[in-house]
Amino acid sequence: MVEKDDLKKINFFKDLSDPILEKMGAIAQLEIFDEENILFRQNQEQTLLYMLVSGKVFLNCRSASGESLTLDEVSPGRTFGVSALMGESSSTFTAICAETSKIITLSGEQMRLLFEEDFQVGRTLMLKVIDLFNERMEMHTRQFLHSLARHPDII
């Protein structure tokens, strides 16, 4: 169990009402992971939502040619693994602790059960996820068009 005040420190949850946070806190876990601990691997099914309280996590991606690329360094307050909320989704990257990290985890399956019991909670969380996805999709499209304009030989 995790106190709602701890969940409020997480960006993804900061606008949520206390009753929703209490429900999520009841199914959340606070865990300490050692440096170099692999939280999940690229192409594996995503089962947990991760919220970093302290420490640092690297998100790495391996390309088809085998080259590894660090896409992001996750800092405290940020959430990753949102596809666990939707089920049937595998991860596009590997998450590895860059240092000892305190992480709140929420089981995707339990979250989905909570959504089935309280559709309003589900709707609120899904809208937040969609807002993020929509913003990222537009960003990717702009980047893609920008790259095409600068490198027309790719077309």
């Binding site: 960006n11 993804f12 998100l59 991606c61 390309s63 088809a64 040619s65 080259e67 690329l69 896409l71 992001d72 360094e73 996750v74 940020r78 959430t79 990753f80 949102v82 596809s83 909320l85 939707m86 049937e88 989704s89 596009t92 990257f93 959504f115 559709f119 309003q120 589900g122 709707r123 899904m126 809208l127 937040k128 996820v129 969609i130 807002d131 993020l132 996805f133 929509n134 990222r136 999709m137 537009e138 960003m139 990717h140 499209t141 980047q143 893609f144 068009l145 790259s147 095409l148 304009a149 600068r150 490198h151 790719i154």
Partner: protein, 168 residues
């Protein structure tokens, strides 16, 4: 009004229980649009959610005043215009029928009202939209990674590759 069987052909709705499909069926319209019909026009408000039963619709963006880029060709079973279900917004793309297309439409205003009244409908529709976005984002991320793999010189132009990870 449309048949529940037609709604079940739409990927986003295929997991919805019949009692919700019935509500949607009562509000939805089935229309046939000719080739080259603009269903959504860039910079204009998106008021309608579209679900393609048959035909093909191109999602286009302008690269230069003389070149349009087709970002996606929407096929049967897919949907677009989901921003009509979420909030008032203007389109950042144009959707044009590539051939005569059979399309189920839902009024954004009316659907938003229904979702306000029925939280189960809202959750299940939003879950469907989120899954659809995730699928597209994963495809884009794979395309970007593949392109960077083939053209490593492009990496220096990318300042925000972390946005591929969907960290919040």
């Amino acid at each position: 009004m449309v048949k529940i069987e037609d709604l079940k052909r739409i990927n986003l709705l295929k997991d919805l229980p019949d009692h919700l499909l019935k509500i949607i069926a009562n509000e939805a319209q089935l229309s046939i649009f000719g080739a080259q019909t603009h269903l959504i026009t860039v910079n204009e408000p998106v008021n309608t959610f579209f679900m393609l039963i048959m035909g093909q619709v191109a999602i286009k963006r302008e690269l230069t005043p003389r070149i349009d880029v087709i970002l996606e060709n929407i096929q049967s079973g897919s949907s677009f215009g989901s921003s009509a279900l979420i909030k008032e917004s203007t389109a950042n793309y144009t959707a044009i029928c590539q051939e005569s297309s059979e399309v189920i439409t839902l009024s954004g205003e009316r659907t938003k009202q229904m979702m306000k009244e029925n939280h189960e409908l809202a959750y299940r529709m939003m879950l469907g939209v989120a899954k659809q976005y995730k699928k597209h984002l994963d495809m884009r991320a794979q395309m970007i990674m593949k392109t960077l793999d083939k053209n490593p010189e492009l990496k220096k132009d990318i300042k925000d590759i972390e946005n591929l990870t969907l960290v919040i």
